[in-house]
Protein backbone atom coordinates (compact mmCIF):
# COMPACT_ATOMS: atom_id res chain seq x y z
CA UNK A 1 0.00 0.00 0.00
CA UNK A 2 2.90 2.35 0.83
CA UNK A 3 4.26 1.84 -2.68
CA UNK A 4 0.90 2.62 -4.26
CA UNK A 5 0.64 5.80 -2.17
CA UNK A 6 4.13 6.82 -3.26
CA UNK A 7 3.15 6.25 -6.89
CA UNK A 8 0.18 8.60 -6.37
CA UNK A 9 2.65 11.31 -5.36
CA UNK A 10 4.92 10.60 -8.33
CA UNK A 11 2.02 10.99 -10.76
CA UNK A 12 1.12 14.47 -9.49
CA UNK A 13 2.26 17.91 -10.60
CA UNK A 14 4.47 18.14 -7.54
CA UNK A 15 5.78 21.67 -8.04
CA UNK A 16 2.25 23.00 -8.34
CA UNK A 17 1.14 21.25 -5.16
CA UNK A 18 4.18 22.43 -3.24
CA UNK A 19 3.58 25.99 -4.47
CA UNK A 20 -0.04 25.79 -3.36
CA UNK A 21 1.04 24.40 0.00
CA UNK A 22 3.55 27.18 0.59
CA UNK A 23 0.81 29.75 -0.08
CA UNK A 24 -1.49 28.03 2.45
CA UNK A 25 1.25 27.82 5.07
CA UNK A 26 2.32 31.44 4.39
CA UNK A 27 -1.19 32.82 4.77
CA UNK A 28 -2.19 30.74 7.79
CA UNK A 29 1.01 31.45 9.74
CA UNK A 30 0.51 35.23 9.61
CA UNK A 31 -3.29 35.24 9.79
CA UNK A 32 -3.59 35.21 13.65
CA UNK A 33 -1.48 38.37 14.03
CA UNK A 34 -3.25 39.92 11.01
CA UNK A 35 -6.59 39.36 12.81
CA UNK A 36 -5.34 41.05 15.99
CA UNK A 37 -3.92 44.01 14.07
CA UNK A 38 -6.58 44.47 11.40
CA UNK A 39 -9.84 42.92 12.62
CA UNK A 40 -10.07 43.06 16.42
CA UNK A 41 -7.53 43.57 19.18
CA UNK A 42 -9.79 41.37 21.36
CA UNK A 43 -8.07 38.34 19.77
CA UNK A 44 -4.86 39.48 21.46
CA UNK A 45 -6.34 39.51 24.99
CA UNK A 46 -4.48 36.38 25.93
CA UNK A 47 -2.83 33.32 24.47
CA UNK A 48 -5.90 31.21 25.21
CA UNK A 49 -8.00 33.55 23.01
CA UNK A 50 -5.58 33.60 20.12
CA UNK A 51 -5.20 29.80 20.33
CA UNK A 52 -8.94 29.41 19.67
CA UNK A 53 -8.55 31.58 16.57
CA UNK A 54 -5.45 29.71 15.42
CA UNK A 55 -7.29 26.40 15.69
CA UNK A 56 -10.33 27.56 13.73
CA UNK A 57 -8.38 29.15 10.86
CA UNK A 58 -6.66 25.84 10.11
CA UNK A 59 -10.00 24.74 8.62
CA UNK A 60 -8.49 26.31 5.49
CA UNK A 61 -6.89 22.93 4.86
CA UNK A 62 -10.31 21.51 3.98
CA UNK A 63 -9.93 23.52 0.77
CA UNK A 64 -6.46 22.11 0.24
CA UNK A 65 -8.01 18.63 0.61
CA UNK A 66 -10.48 19.51 -2.18
CA UNK A 67 -7.56 20.54 -4.36
CA UNK A 68 -5.93 17.15 -3.76
CA UNK A 69 -9.19 15.31 -4.50
CA UNK A 70 -9.28 17.23 -7.75
CA UNK A 71 -5.75 16.26 -8.75
CA UNK A 72 -5.60 12.71 -7.38
CA UNK A 73 -9.09 11.54 -8.36
CA UNK A 74 -11.03 13.87 -10.68
CA UNK A 75 -8.16 14.77 -13.02
CA UNK A 76 -7.30 11.09 -13.40
CA UNK A 77 -10.85 10.36 -14.53
CA UNK A 78 -10.99 13.42 -16.79
CA UNK A 79 -7.60 12.73 -18.42
CA UNK A 80 -8.48 9.02 -18.54
CA UNK A 81 -5.18 8.14 -16.86
CA UNK A 82 -7.29 6.23 -14.32
CA UNK A 83 -7.81 3.63 -17.08
CA UNK A 84 -4.07 2.89 -16.91
CA UNK A 85 -4.34 2.10 -13.21
CA UNK A 86 -7.54 0.08 -13.67
CA UNK A 87 -5.78 -2.02 -16.32
CA UNK A 88 -3.14 -3.20 -13.85
CA UNK A 89 -3.58 -6.45 -11.92
CA UNK A 90 -4.59 -4.51 -8.81
CA UNK A 91 -8.19 -4.29 -7.62
CA UNK A 92 -9.92 -0.93 -7.99
CA UNK A 93 -10.77 -0.94 -4.30
CA UNK A 94 -7.08 -1.17 -3.44
CA UNK A 95 -6.21 1.59 -5.90
CA UNK A 96 -8.86 3.92 -4.47
CA UNK A 97 -7.82 3.03 -0.92
CA UNK A 98 -4.26 4.10 -1.83
CA UNK A 99 -5.60 7.40 -3.19
CA UNK A 100 -7.71 8.03 -0.07
CA UNK A 101 -4.83 7.19 2.27
CA UNK A 102 -2.48 9.40 0.28
CA UNK A 103 -4.86 12.39 0.42
CA UNK A 104 -5.56 11.77 4.13
CA UNK A 105 -1.92 11.49 5.13
CA UNK A 106 -0.95 14.49 3.04
CA UNK A 107 -3.70 16.73 4.45
CA UNK A 108 -3.04 15.50 8.01
CA UNK A 109 0.73 16.11 7.86
CA UNK A 110 0.38 19.48 6.13
CA UNK A 111 -2.19 20.62 8.73
CA UNK A 112 0.15 19.58 11.56
CA UNK A 113 3.00 21.53 9.94
CA UNK A 114 0.67 24.49 9.47
CA UNK A 115 -0.32 24.37 13.18
CA UNK A 116 3.36 24.35 14.14
CA UNK A 117 4.28 27.18 11.75
CA UNK A 118 1.34 29.32 12.87
CA UNK A 119 2.19 28.70 16.56
CA UNK A 120 5.88 29.48 16.16
CA UNK A 121 5.29 32.56 13.96
CA UNK A 122 2.67 34.00 16.30
CA UNK A 123 4.89 33.43 19.32
CA UNK A 124 7.99 34.96 17.66
CA UNK A 125 6.10 38.00 16.34
CA UNK A 126 4.61 38.53 19.80
CA UNK A 127 8.04 38.07 21.34
CA UNK A 128 9.52 40.85 19.20
CA UNK A 129 6.54 43.21 18.90
CA UNK A 130 4.49 42.50 22.09
CA UNK A 131 1.15 41.99 20.37
CA UNK A 132 -0.58 39.54 22.75
CA UNK A 133 -1.13 40.25 26.42
CA UNK A 134 0.73 37.90 28.75
CA UNK A 135 2.81 34.84 28.06
CA UNK A 136 1.70 31.35 26.98
CA UNK A 137 1.12 29.05 29.95
CA UNK A 138 1.80 25.31 30.10
CA UNK A 139 -1.98 24.81 29.95
CA UNK A 140 -2.11 26.91 26.74
CA UNK A 141 0.64 24.84 25.17
CA UNK A 142 -0.99 21.54 26.20
CA UNK A 143 -4.31 22.69 24.75
CA UNK A 144 -2.65 23.82 21.55
CA UNK A 145 -0.75 20.57 20.94
CA UNK A 146 -3.65 18.29 21.83
CA UNK A 147 -6.03 20.32 19.65
CA UNK A 148 -3.40 20.28 16.90
CA UNK A 149 -3.60 16.47 16.68
CA UNK A 150 -7.37 16.24 17.12
CA UNK A 151 -8.21 19.05 14.71
CA UNK A 152 -5.77 17.86 12.06
CA UNK A 153 -7.53 14.50 12.16
CA UNK A 154 -10.92 16.22 12.05
CA UNK A 155 -9.91 18.51 9.15
CA UNK A 156 -8.63 15.47 7.24
CA UNK A 157 -11.95 13.67 7.58
CA UNK A 158 -14.01 16.77 6.74
CA UNK A 159 -11.88 17.42 3.65
CA UNK A 160 -12.88 13.98 2.35
CA UNK A 161 -16.63 14.73 2.39
CA UNK A 162 -16.73 15.71 -1.33
CA UNK A 163 -14.67 12.64 -2.30
CA UNK A 164 -17.47 10.22 -3.12
CA UNK A 165 -20.25 12.32 -4.58
CA UNK A 166 -18.28 15.03 -6.39
CA UNK A 167 -15.05 13.06 -6.87
CA UNK A 168 -15.48 9.38 -7.63
CA UNK A 169 -19.09 9.62 -8.83
CA UNK A 170 -19.68 12.99 -10.51
CA UNK A 171 -16.01 13.83 -11.21
CA UNK A 172 -16.77 17.55 -10.93
CA UNK A 173 -14.04 20.01 -9.94
CA UNK A 174 -16.02 23.16 -9.28
CA UNK A 175 -18.67 21.57 -7.00
CA UNK A 176 -15.84 19.88 -5.05
CA UNK A 177 -14.25 23.26 -4.34
CA UNK A 178 -17.61 24.87 -3.54
CA UNK A 179 -18.45 22.05 -1.16
CA UNK A 180 -15.08 22.49 0.60
CA UNK A 181 -15.63 26.25 0.91
CA UNK A 182 -19.05 25.63 2.43
CA UNK A 183 -17.66 23.09 4.90
CA UNK A 184 -14.84 25.46 5.86
CA UNK A 185 -17.31 28.21 6.66
CA UNK A 186 -20.06 26.00 8.08
CA UNK A 187 -19.53 27.10 11.69
CA UNK A 188 -19.45 30.77 10.66
CA UNK A 189 -22.63 30.39 8.63
CA UNK A 190 -24.52 28.89 11.56
CA UNK A 191 -23.23 31.72 13.79
CA UNK A 192 -24.26 34.39 11.24
CA UNK A 193 -27.65 32.79 10.73
CA UNK A 194 -28.11 32.67 14.49
CA UNK A 195 -28.56 28.91 14.47
CA UNK A 196 -27.64 27.47 17.82
CA UNK A 197 -25.74 24.26 17.18
CA UNK A 198 -23.16 22.75 19.46
CA UNK A 199 -19.86 23.18 17.49
CA UNK A 200 -18.48 19.88 18.77
CA UNK A 201 -21.58 18.05 17.59
CA UNK A 202 -21.27 19.72 14.19
CA UNK A 203 -17.65 18.59 13.95
CA UNK A 204 -18.56 15.03 14.92
CA UNK A 205 -21.35 15.04 12.33
CA UNK A 206 -19.03 16.31 9.60
CA UNK A 207 -16.38 13.73 10.53
CA UNK A 208 -18.98 10.98 10.22
CA UNK A 209 -19.96 12.33 6.80
CA UNK A 210 -16.28 12.26 5.78
CA UNK A 211 -15.93 8.67 6.97
CA UNK A 212 -19.10 7.68 5.09
CA UNK A 213 -17.73 9.35 1.94
CA UNK A 214 -14.49 7.35 2.21
CA UNK A 215 -16.41 4.10 2.78
CA UNK A 216 -18.67 4.69 -0.23
CA UNK A 217 -15.75 5.71 -2.47
CA UNK A 218 -14.00 2.42 -1.84
CA UNK A 219 -17.13 0.29 -1.76
CA UNK A 220 -18.76 1.72 -4.90
CA UNK A 221 -15.77 2.35 -7.18
CA UNK A 222 -16.59 -0.71 -9.30
CA UNK A 223 -20.17 0.43 -9.81
CA UNK A 224 -20.24 4.20 -10.26
CA UNK A 225 -19.83 4.70 -13.96
CA UNK A 226 -17.69 3.07 -16.57
CA UNK A 227 -14.57 4.57 -18.02
Amino acid sequence: MGKLMMLEWRKLKQKMIMGELIIYWGILMFLPIFFIKMVSTDFGESYSTIIQLMISIQMGFVLFGASLINQVVIDEYKNKTISLAFGYPISRKKLVTAKVLFISLFVFCCTIVSFLLAGITTYLLDHFFQIIDGQPTIADLTTYFSKMIGHSFMITLISLIPLYFFGVWKRATFPTVLCALFLMQFQNFSYLLNIDINPDMVNVGLCLLGAASVYLSIKMVDKVGDL
Partner: protein, 307 residues
Protein backbone atom coordinates in the same frame (compact mmCIF):
# COMPACT_ATOMS: atom_id res chain seq x y z
CA UNK B 1 -4.22 -26.21 -29.29
CA UNK B 2 -3.73 -23.83 -26.41
CA UNK B 3 -6.09 -20.87 -26.27
CA UNK B 4 -4.90 -17.94 -24.21
CA UNK B 5 -8.05 -15.83 -24.66
CA UNK B 6 -11.50 -17.33 -24.41
CA UNK B 7 -14.79 -15.55 -23.98
CA UNK B 8 -18.07 -17.24 -23.39
CA UNK B 9 -21.30 -15.37 -24.13
CA UNK B 10 -19.60 -12.03 -23.59
CA UNK B 11 -22.23 -9.31 -23.47
CA UNK B 12 -22.13 -5.64 -22.52
CA UNK B 13 -25.23 -3.52 -22.12
CA UNK B 14 -25.30 0.13 -21.15
CA UNK B 15 -28.81 1.09 -20.05
CA UNK B 16 -30.94 -0.55 -22.74
CA UNK B 17 -28.29 -0.41 -25.48
CA UNK B 18 -26.48 -3.64 -26.33
CA UNK B 19 -22.88 -2.80 -27.21
CA UNK B 20 -21.57 -6.36 -27.37
CA UNK B 21 -23.75 -9.42 -27.71
CA UNK B 22 -22.91 -13.02 -26.92
CA UNK B 23 -19.33 -13.00 -28.24
CA UNK B 24 -17.53 -16.34 -28.09
CA UNK B 25 -13.96 -15.58 -28.96
CA UNK B 26 -10.96 -17.89 -28.92
CA UNK B 27 -7.43 -16.72 -29.58
CA UNK B 28 -4.67 -19.28 -29.95
CA UNK B 29 -1.29 -18.88 -28.32
CA UNK B 30 1.19 -17.35 -30.76
CA UNK B 31 -1.28 -16.09 -33.36
CA UNK B 32 -2.02 -12.58 -34.57
CA UNK B 33 -5.76 -12.10 -34.40
CA UNK B 34 -7.36 -9.11 -36.10
CA UNK B 35 -10.70 -7.52 -35.33
CA UNK B 36 -12.50 -5.98 -38.25
CA UNK B 37 -15.60 -3.90 -37.90
CA UNK B 38 -17.03 -0.50 -38.56
CA UNK B 39 -16.90 2.33 -36.07
CA UNK B 40 -19.20 1.54 -33.17
CA UNK B 41 -19.31 -2.17 -34.03
CA UNK B 42 -18.07 -3.09 -30.55
CA UNK B 43 -14.36 -3.82 -31.10
CA UNK B 44 -13.09 -1.37 -28.50
CA UNK B 45 -15.73 -2.46 -25.97
CA UNK B 46 -14.58 -6.08 -26.30
CA UNK B 47 -10.96 -4.98 -25.91
CA UNK B 48 -11.84 -2.91 -22.84
CA UNK B 49 -13.49 -5.94 -21.27
CA UNK B 50 -10.48 -8.12 -22.08
CA UNK B 51 -8.17 -5.63 -20.35
CA UNK B 52 -10.34 -5.27 -17.26
CA UNK B 53 -11.31 -1.65 -17.95
CA UNK B 54 -15.00 -2.43 -18.01
CA UNK B 55 -16.77 -5.49 -16.75
CA UNK B 56 -19.14 -7.55 -18.88
CA UNK B 57 -22.86 -7.44 -18.15
CA UNK B 58 -22.97 -11.19 -18.67
CA UNK B 59 -20.53 -13.80 -19.90
CA UNK B 60 -17.05 -14.85 -18.96
CA UNK B 61 -13.52 -13.98 -19.94
CA UNK B 62 -10.70 -16.45 -19.48
CA UNK B 63 -7.13 -15.28 -19.96
CA UNK B 64 -4.35 -17.84 -19.64
CA UNK B 65 -6.85 -20.33 -18.22
CA UNK B 66 -7.77 -17.94 -15.39
CA UNK B 67 -11.14 -16.23 -15.16
CA UNK B 68 -10.82 -12.47 -15.35
CA UNK B 69 -12.91 -10.69 -12.72
CA UNK B 70 -12.48 -7.52 -10.66
CA UNK B 71 -11.21 -9.59 -7.75
CA UNK B 72 -9.04 -11.83 -9.89
CA UNK B 73 -6.98 -9.68 -12.22
CA UNK B 74 -3.58 -11.33 -11.87
CA UNK B 75 -3.65 -12.57 -15.47
CA UNK B 76 -3.47 -8.92 -16.62
CA UNK B 77 0.17 -8.98 -15.58
CA UNK B 78 0.76 -10.99 -18.74
CA UNK B 79 -1.07 -8.54 -20.98
CA UNK B 80 0.11 -5.31 -22.61
CA UNK B 81 -2.36 -2.99 -24.29
CA UNK B 82 -3.25 0.27 -25.93
CA UNK B 83 -6.98 0.91 -26.01
CA UNK B 84 -8.47 3.73 -28.11
CA UNK B 85 -5.42 6.02 -27.97
CA UNK B 86 -2.26 6.07 -25.87
CA UNK B 87 -2.83 7.80 -22.53
CA UNK B 88 0.03 9.24 -20.51
CA UNK B 89 0.71 11.54 -17.62
CA UNK B 90 1.39 14.38 -20.02
CA UNK B 91 3.36 16.53 -17.55
CA UNK B 92 5.86 13.73 -16.88
CA UNK B 93 8.76 12.62 -19.06
CA UNK B 94 8.65 9.50 -21.21
CA UNK B 95 10.99 7.72 -18.79
CA UNK B 96 8.92 8.71 -15.72
CA UNK B 97 5.78 7.37 -17.41
CA UNK B 98 7.48 4.08 -18.25
CA UNK B 99 8.97 3.74 -14.76
CA UNK B 100 5.57 4.30 -13.12
CA UNK B 101 4.06 1.65 -15.41
CA UNK B 102 6.79 -0.84 -14.48
CA UNK B 103 6.37 -0.16 -10.76
CA UNK B 104 2.63 -0.79 -10.92
CA UNK B 105 3.43 -4.16 -12.46
CA UNK B 106 6.26 -4.88 -10.02
CA UNK B 107 8.78 -5.01 -12.86
CA UNK B 108 12.16 -3.47 -12.11
CA UNK B 109 14.44 -3.90 -15.10
CA UNK B 110 15.83 -0.55 -16.20
CA UNK B 111 17.55 -2.21 -19.16
CA UNK B 112 14.17 -3.46 -20.44
CA UNK B 113 12.97 0.15 -20.77
CA UNK B 114 15.96 1.14 -22.88
CA UNK B 115 15.64 -2.07 -24.90
CA UNK B 116 11.95 -1.44 -25.61
CA UNK B 117 12.62 2.20 -26.59
CA UNK B 118 15.32 0.98 -28.93
CA UNK B 119 12.99 -1.56 -30.57
CA UNK B 120 10.55 1.21 -31.47
CA UNK B 121 13.34 3.63 -32.48
CA UNK B 122 12.47 6.07 -29.71
CA UNK B 123 15.86 6.41 -28.06
CA UNK B 124 16.93 9.88 -26.94
CA UNK B 125 13.47 11.03 -25.92
CA UNK B 126 13.56 9.58 -22.39
CA UNK B 127 13.83 12.94 -20.65
CA UNK B 128 11.34 14.79 -22.81
CA UNK B 129 7.91 15.75 -21.51
CA UNK B 130 5.17 13.64 -23.13
CA UNK B 131 2.98 16.75 -23.66
CA UNK B 132 5.43 17.85 -26.38
CA UNK B 133 5.18 14.56 -28.31
CA UNK B 134 3.36 14.22 -31.62
CA UNK B 135 0.49 11.70 -31.83
CA UNK B 136 2.78 9.34 -33.73
CA UNK B 137 5.43 9.51 -31.01
CA UNK B 138 2.81 8.93 -28.34
CA UNK B 139 1.56 5.91 -30.27
CA UNK B 140 5.08 4.50 -30.39
CA UNK B 141 5.65 5.28 -26.73
CA UNK B 142 2.38 3.46 -26.04
CA UNK B 143 3.80 0.43 -27.84
CA UNK B 144 6.96 0.70 -25.74
CA UNK B 145 4.84 0.66 -22.61
CA UNK B 146 2.84 -2.30 -23.90
CA UNK B 147 5.92 -4.41 -24.65
CA UNK B 148 8.25 -3.32 -21.86
CA UNK B 149 7.37 -6.10 -19.44
CA UNK B 150 7.48 -8.71 -22.19
CA UNK B 151 3.83 -9.71 -21.97
CA UNK B 152 2.53 -12.88 -23.58
CA UNK B 153 -0.50 -11.14 -25.05
CA UNK B 154 -0.61 -7.64 -26.54
CA UNK B 155 -3.94 -5.98 -27.30
CA UNK B 156 -3.69 -3.02 -29.67
CA UNK B 157 -6.71 -0.97 -30.65
CA UNK B 158 -5.98 0.84 -33.92
CA UNK B 159 -2.19 0.69 -33.45
CA UNK B 160 -1.35 2.59 -36.64
CA UNK B 161 -3.50 5.63 -35.80
CA UNK B 162 -1.45 8.79 -36.12
CA UNK B 163 1.56 7.08 -37.66
CA UNK B 164 3.19 8.19 -40.90
CA UNK B 165 3.75 5.58 -43.67
CA UNK B 166 7.22 4.73 -42.34
CA UNK B 167 5.83 4.46 -38.83
CA UNK B 168 3.08 2.14 -40.09
CA UNK B 169 5.64 -0.12 -41.74
CA UNK B 170 7.82 -0.06 -38.60
CA UNK B 171 4.79 -0.99 -36.51
CA UNK B 172 3.92 -3.87 -38.81
CA UNK B 173 7.51 -5.12 -38.74
CA UNK B 174 7.62 -4.76 -34.96
CA UNK B 175 4.41 -6.76 -34.49
CA UNK B 176 5.69 -9.49 -36.79
CA UNK B 177 9.09 -9.55 -35.07
CA UNK B 178 7.60 -9.72 -31.56
CA UNK B 179 5.25 -12.46 -32.69
CA UNK B 180 7.94 -14.47 -34.43
CA UNK B 181 10.89 -14.03 -32.10
CA UNK B 182 9.19 -13.75 -28.72
CA UNK B 183 6.07 -15.77 -29.47
CA UNK B 184 3.84 -12.91 -28.31
CA UNK B 185 0.17 -13.32 -29.20
CA UNK B 186 -1.54 -10.22 -30.63
CA UNK B 187 -5.12 -9.02 -30.75
CA UNK B 188 -5.33 -6.07 -33.12
CA UNK B 189 -8.06 -3.92 -34.52
CA UNK B 190 -7.78 -1.55 -37.40
CA UNK B 191 -9.84 0.28 -39.95
CA UNK B 192 -6.99 0.06 -42.40
CA UNK B 193 -7.82 -3.34 -43.80
CA UNK B 194 -4.60 -3.62 -45.76
CA UNK B 195 -2.74 -3.39 -42.45
CA UNK B 196 -4.65 -6.25 -40.86
CA UNK B 197 -4.33 -8.23 -44.06
CA UNK B 198 -0.57 -7.91 -43.90
CA UNK B 199 -0.08 -9.03 -40.31
CA UNK B 200 -3.03 -11.06 -39.04
CA UNK B 201 -3.25 -14.84 -39.13
CA UNK B 202 -6.95 -14.89 -38.35
CA UNK B 203 -9.68 -12.30 -38.53
CA UNK B 204 -12.86 -11.89 -36.53
CA UNK B 205 -15.56 -9.77 -38.13
CA UNK B 206 -17.58 -7.72 -35.65
CA UNK B 207 -20.94 -6.35 -36.67
CA UNK B 208 -23.44 -4.65 -34.34
CA UNK B 209 -21.64 -6.06 -31.30
CA UNK B 210 -21.64 -9.61 -32.61
CA UNK B 211 -18.78 -11.74 -33.83
CA UNK B 212 -20.31 -12.65 -37.16
CA UNK B 213 -17.46 -14.65 -38.63
CA UNK B 214 -13.94 -15.84 -37.98
CA UNK B 215 -11.68 -16.72 -40.84
CA UNK B 216 -8.00 -17.31 -41.45
CA UNK B 217 -6.10 -15.27 -44.01
CA UNK B 218 -5.31 -18.52 -45.79
CA UNK B 219 -9.04 -19.20 -46.24
CA UNK B 220 -9.65 -15.71 -47.58
CA UNK B 221 -6.82 -16.18 -50.08
CA UNK B 222 -8.51 -19.32 -51.36
CA UNK B 223 -11.77 -17.43 -51.80
CA UNK B 224 -10.16 -14.64 -53.77
CA UNK B 225 -11.50 -14.21 -57.26
CA UNK B 226 -10.25 -12.34 -60.26
CA UNK B 227 -12.52 -10.27 -62.46
CA UNK B 228 -12.43 -7.63 -65.17
CA UNK B 229 -14.30 -4.45 -64.38
CA UNK B 230 -15.55 -2.20 -67.16
CA UNK B 231 -16.82 1.30 -66.52
CA UNK B 232 -19.10 2.56 -69.27
CA UNK B 233 -22.25 4.62 -69.73
CA UNK B 234 -23.69 2.05 -72.11
CA UNK B 235 -24.11 -0.82 -69.72
CA UNK B 236 -27.12 -2.57 -71.34
CA UNK B 237 -25.58 -2.68 -74.81
CA UNK B 238 -22.24 -3.82 -73.40
CA UNK B 239 -23.83 -6.70 -71.50
CA UNK B 240 -25.73 -7.71 -74.62
CA UNK B 241 -22.51 -7.73 -76.65
CA UNK B 242 -20.59 -9.67 -74.04
CA UNK B 243 -23.29 -12.29 -74.09
CA UNK B 244 -24.09 -12.46 -77.80
CA UNK B 245 -20.73 -11.75 -79.40
CA UNK B 246 -18.24 -13.08 -76.88
CA UNK B 247 -20.44 -15.72 -75.21
CA UNK B 248 -19.36 -14.65 -71.72
CA UNK B 249 -21.95 -15.98 -69.26
CA UNK B 250 -20.70 -14.81 -65.87
CA UNK B 251 -21.35 -11.07 -65.93
CA UNK B 252 -22.61 -8.81 -63.14
CA UNK B 253 -23.82 -5.21 -63.27
CA UNK B 254 -22.59 -3.14 -60.36
CA UNK B 255 -24.29 0.22 -59.90
CA UNK B 256 -25.42 1.79 -63.18
CA UNK B 257 -22.11 2.06 -64.96
CA UNK B 258 -19.94 -0.90 -63.94
CA UNK B 259 -19.82 -4.41 -65.30
CA UNK B 260 -17.85 -7.22 -63.75
CA UNK B 261 -16.77 -10.22 -65.81
CA UNK B 262 -15.85 -13.24 -63.72
CA UNK B 263 -15.16 -15.57 -66.64
CA UNK B 264 -11.61 -14.74 -67.65
CA UNK B 265 -11.23 -17.14 -70.56
CA UNK B 266 -11.06 -14.29 -73.02
CA UNK B 267 -8.23 -11.76 -72.72
CA UNK B 268 -8.97 -8.18 -71.71
CA UNK B 269 -7.78 -6.91 -75.12
CA UNK B 270 -10.37 -9.06 -76.95
CA UNK B 271 -13.18 -7.68 -74.82
CA UNK B 272 -12.07 -4.05 -75.33
CA UNK B 273 -11.73 -4.60 -79.09
CA UNK B 274 -15.25 -6.01 -79.39
CA UNK B 275 -16.81 -3.23 -77.40
CA UNK B 276 -14.94 -0.47 -79.23
CA UNK B 277 -15.87 -1.94 -82.62
CA UNK B 278 -19.51 -1.62 -81.56
CA UNK B 279 -19.03 2.03 -80.59
CA UNK B 280 -19.13 1.46 -76.87
CA UNK B 281 -17.39 4.26 -75.01
CA UNK B 282 -15.18 2.60 -72.40
CA UNK B 283 -14.21 4.89 -69.53
CA UNK B 284 -12.13 2.28 -67.77
CA UNK B 285 -11.32 -1.40 -68.09
CA UNK B 286 -9.16 -3.13 -65.53
CA UNK B 287 -8.39 -6.53 -64.08
CA UNK B 288 -9.03 -6.80 -60.30
CA UNK B 289 -8.45 -9.33 -57.57
CA UNK B 290 -11.01 -9.30 -54.78
CA UNK B 291 -9.25 -8.21 -51.58
CA UNK B 292 -9.85 -8.52 -47.90
CA UNK B 293 -11.66 -5.23 -48.27
CA UNK B 294 -14.19 -6.91 -50.55
CA UNK B 295 -14.52 -9.82 -48.15
CA UNK B 296 -14.98 -7.49 -45.21
CA UNK B 297 -17.54 -5.45 -47.09
CA UNK B 298 -19.48 -8.60 -47.93
CA UNK B 299 -19.43 -9.67 -44.30
CA UNK B 300 -20.67 -6.32 -43.06
CA UNK B 301 -23.18 -5.54 -45.79
CA UNK B 302 -23.90 -8.99 -47.15
CA UNK B 303 -23.34 -7.92 -50.75
CA UNK B 304 -20.81 -6.78 -53.28
CA UNK B 305 -18.71 -3.75 -52.81
CA UNK B 306 -20.08 -0.86 -54.75
CA UNK B 307 -18.84 2.56 -55.73
Amino acid sequence: MEYIVRTNGLTKKVKSKVLVSNVNLQIKKGEIYGFLGQNGAGKTTIMKMLTGLISPTTGEITLFNQKLTEISKSSLKRVGSIIEYPIFFEHLTAMENLQIHCEYLGYYDQKAIIQALDMVHLTGIEDKIVKDFSLGMKQRLGIVRAIITKPELIILDEPTNGLDPIGIKDMRDLIRMLNREYGITFLLSSHILGEIEQVADRIGVIKDGKLVNEVTLADISKQRTEYIEIVTKDVQKSVYLLDSELKIPNVKIIQDNRIRIYDLTLPQSEISKTLILHDIEIEEIQKHISTLEDYFYQQIHGGDKVG
